[in-house]
């Protein structure tokens, strides 16, 4: 297995080993750039993960702020406009109810009692405008049973 491997050339003595300061500097520069990219990219991309009740508790302060809200789809209030692909529904948890509007095809896993995570903003009328709708099956499917729908 090793016969085709080239052994390293050993013609140079191991003694002469200057401290490669300039390479350490280079390494730090790369690390600094990566850290800068991470920190600068966080802006505008973070969204608080809230339950319906937590969002309600924030009151008007929550309007216009990008958040992710999780709750359970209430089957009684689903309206799907097939022609224009507009989906209106409520998500609920034990102490709150949030009306949501989502533009896009109704995801396959969207149904009564599905666990939903909506990402978007609450508008001034108290309706949550979801740009992203993520669903988890009510059944006990594992990780692969999560599907994302993200229009535009």
């Amino acid at each position: 297995m090793t016969t085709e491997e080239r052994m390293p050339d050993m013609e140079m003595p191991a003694a002469s080993k200057p401290r490669p300061t300039k390479f350490i500097v280079g390494g730090f520069i790369i690390a600094a750039v990566v850290i800068y990219l991470i920190v600068s990219s966080l802006g505008g991309s973070t969204a608080y993960y809230l339950t319906v009740a937590e969002l309600m508790a924030k009151g008007p302060a929550a309007v216009g702020e990008k958040v992710r809200v999780s709750g359970v789809v209430d089957g009684a209030n689903i309206q799907y406009d097939q022609q224009n692909l507009v989906l209106r529904f409520d998500i609920v948890d034990n102490s709150g109810r949030l009306p949501v509007v989502y533009h896009g095809p109704r995801p396959d896993m969207f149904q009564d009692q599905a666990e939903a995570v909506v990402e978007g903003k609450l508008n001034a009328n108290g309706v949550f405008e979801a740009s992203n709708l993520l669903l988890k099956c009510p059944s006990k499917y594992e990780a692969a049973a999560t599907a994302t729908a993200s229009p535009r």
Binding site: Y48, R68, Q82, D108, Q111, R152
Partner: protein, 658 residues
């Protein structure tokens, strides 16, 4: 009861692997060969028990023994046989057993292949490490994640597989990923064995290479298949959503890629020894992390730890394995001292190092993004999620820098390169890039991201293809061969290098798909009645017919479309929306017309009883190249991996490089 025998086999596998590990270490420490031989027998027994348990699980699945909970949850009476077999790795318990099976078989190959004199000092530790990993996995299967757990009664039918998983991509995607994760145990075992036995790192690093490449190959195939599955089956026209499970497969891939390149420099120049060892250890740790994330969903919330004890098993194992091996490495770092230091930034080794740091940086970005919600929950008591924009802004520039290095690195010389040499070799690709950008501007592709993406692709492709040309020309001159023979010979004689370059070309094709579909994706939606015809995005779509069928496991609703191009090409596309009885849920099946220029992707978004349907049409330029690029990567990796036959053996001094 057969399931009980399966459980017993797992228990015995755990005990045998534990015994083997102990016997190997003691036998080597106390210089008692008979103890090592006994360890080998223990190892063989462990493999035998794991194989037994796996066969029993397969038998239970095929015989649809619904009293076994795992069978009940993943198989049903109407499920076709191929999916019954794939149910082996469709769930948590089964996939962990599959993982254990793979590590065991890989360990068996090591047992029978590492027998030469030079491998003797490594061998006991190598097998001991593998046995410890096996014992851990067997323990998980015996305690928190038992695939043979029984239900109180025997239901008449099982729940069945999630219909989303009923796709060819899904038969192959999880096992290939798991093969990749599991195979990375062997490089890790080599590093640990090297540290413990005190053998010089260069001697065994060469042995690791083929294992690492194979693991990396499977990981790559798994990731590409996963993207393809998402594209075809999830029906939103995307292939990558930066979700935790996807990310967790990308992280070890990135670090593993860095490890491969670092090892290449080590074998060539005798430097980066510690760095290679660290990367190999980290890759294994990240594979364990990925296995765990894939199978637990813990990343969504640290609270998942409280719900399932599985998390604690993995966390403890991961911390012990990483702290232990990195600690040992630190203690023995003298054995990993390099022969030289770097000489110049303009050298191939420096290029490799920069690429390595960027790969690790990219992995750090993805890792941080993946654990961000858990981190913020831990420190601020509130989960904060990141969207795809974070990854695009941070991963994107790093990715671009890595791609550009593809073009510069191969033309750099070892030790040092003068700026004049570099300029001479890059002038042609630079001119080519300028031409391509000019053509793009004239033909209307003016998005900045597209110009940067396609421009760098052209630059790098030019540089790499010229490398092939340079090698072939040198051979034509020296051996007087015709161009084709010369090209094949030069590639055949330095497969490591040219295989690697071919992999880079594959990555470039993937970049074409990413940029094309990312920047120029178009969406249209419309309502059509059967018989209607519509022009959309350069296609003529005729809605021929609406079909409704009752099948044993689903109600099928299909719309038959006849799609034609102005040049006369015609394709029948059949997007469907089916109701699956077992999950009481709709599952859409998209229809795609793939051409080199673009994909035409049709989603059936809504359907009324009179057959009028809402269609969503997506135009995704250059998507096909993503999958072709994946194929090219596989071929390049196989070429680099392929062993040199006896007849091809050559003196170490003979190389095609300067």
């Amino acid at each position: 009861m057969i399931a009980d025998i399966g459980y017993g086999a797992l228990l015995l596998a755990f005990l045998s692997a534990g015994y083997a590990a102990l016997a190997f270490v003691l036998g080597q420490r106390r210089r008692r060969p008979e103890l090592i031989r006994s360890g080998e027998n223990g190892f063989r027994m462990a493999v035998l028990w794991v194989v037994t348990a796996s066969l029993i699980l397969l038998y239970l699945l095929v015989s649809r023994d619904y009293q076994v909970r795992y069978v009940f949850e993943h198989v049903s009476n109407t499920l076709p046989l191929a999916y019954v077999l794939s149910a082996f790795w469709a769930g948590q318990e089964g996939s962990l057993l599959f993982w254990l099976l793979l590590v065991s078989l890989a360990g068996l190959v090591v047992l029978y292949s590492q027998r030469d004199a030079a491998a003797q000092p490594l061998r006991p530790y190598l097998l001991a490490t593998t046995a410890i990993v096996q014992a851990f996995m067997a323990l998980v299967l015996v305690l928190p994640s038992n695939p043979f757990a029984l239900l109180a009664s025997r239901p008449a039918d099982g729940f069945g597989l999630n219909p989303l998983l009923e796709n060819v991509g899904m038969i192959f995607h999880p096992p290939t990923l798991f093969i990749g994760y599991a195979l990375y145990t062997i490089p890790f075992a080599f590093v640990l064995a090297g540290i413990l036995s005190g053998q010089p790192s260069d001697a065994w690093m060469a042995r690791v290479r083929r294992w690492s490449l194979m693991a990396w190959l499977f990981l790559s195939i798994g990731i590409i298949l996963g993207a393809w599955w998402a594209y075809i089956e999830l029906g939103w026209g995307g292939y990558w959503a930066w979700d935790p499970v996807e990310n967790s497969s990308l992280i070890p891939w990135l670090v593993g890629t860095a490890a491969l390149h670092s090892a290449a420099v080590q074998s060539r120049r005798g430097i980066f020894r510690t760095w290679t060892a660290v990367l190999t250890i980290l890759t294994f740790g990240l594979c364990i992390f990925a296995t765990f994330v894939t199978r637990s969903g813990v990343i969504q919330s640290v609270h998942a730890f409280e719900r399932s004890s599985l998390g604690w098993y993995f966390a403890v194992f991961l911390v012990v394995a990483m702290a232990g091996s990195l600690g040992l490495l630190a203690a023995r770092r003298r054995a990993f001292a390099d022969n030289y230091a770097l000489e110049s930034y303009l050298s191939r080794e420096a290029g490799f190092l920069i690429g390595n740091l960027l790969l690790v940086g990219a992995a750090a970005v993805v890792f941080l993004g993946t654990i961000f919600p858990a981190l913020t929950e831990l420190f601020r008591g509130q989960q904060v999620a990141l969207d795809a924009g974070f990854y695009n802004r941070s991963f994107g520039p790093i990715g671009l820098a890595i791609i550009l290095l593809f073009g510069v690195c191969p033309v750099l010389l070892w030790h040092r390169t003068t700026p004049a040499q570099l300029a001479r070799r890059l002038i042609v690709p630079a001119i080519l890039t300028a031409l391509i950008i000019a053509v793009l501007l004239v033909t209307g592709w003016r998005e900045p991201i597209a110009l940067v993406g396609f421009g760098s692709t052209a630059f790098v492709a030019g540089s790499i293809l010229m490398e092939f040309g340079r090698g072939a020309r040198a051979r034509m001159r020296s051996a007087g061969e015709n161009p084709l023979t010369a090209l094949l010979r030069v590639v055949g004689r330095d497969r490591r290098r040219y295989g690697g370059l071919i992999v880079h070309l594959g990555v470039l094709l993937i970049v074409l798909g990413v940029v094309g579909s990312g920047v120029y994706k178009q969406e249209y939606q419309t309502v059509m009645k059967p018989g209607e015809t519509l022009d959309v995005a350069g296609y003529t779509v005729q809605y021929l017919q609406y079909v409704e069928q009752e099948l044993p496991h689903k109600q099928r609703f299909a719309t038959i479309l006849r799609v034609s191009r102005p040049n006369g090409a015609v394709r029948e596309l059949v997007p469907e929306k089916n109701f699956h009885w077992n999950v009481e849920q709709w599952v859409s099946e998209v229809a795609v017309w793939s051409r080199p220029a673009e994909d035409f992707y049709v989603i059936l978004a809504g359907l009324s009883s009179d057959g009028s349907a809402t269609f969503q049409f997506l135009q995704e330029p250059l998507m096909l190249w993503m999958w072709i690029g994946g194929g090219v990567m596989v071929l390049g990796t196989l070429l680099a991996w392929w062993p040199a036959g006896e007849r091809r053996r050559r003196a170490p001094a003979d190389t095609a490089e300067e």
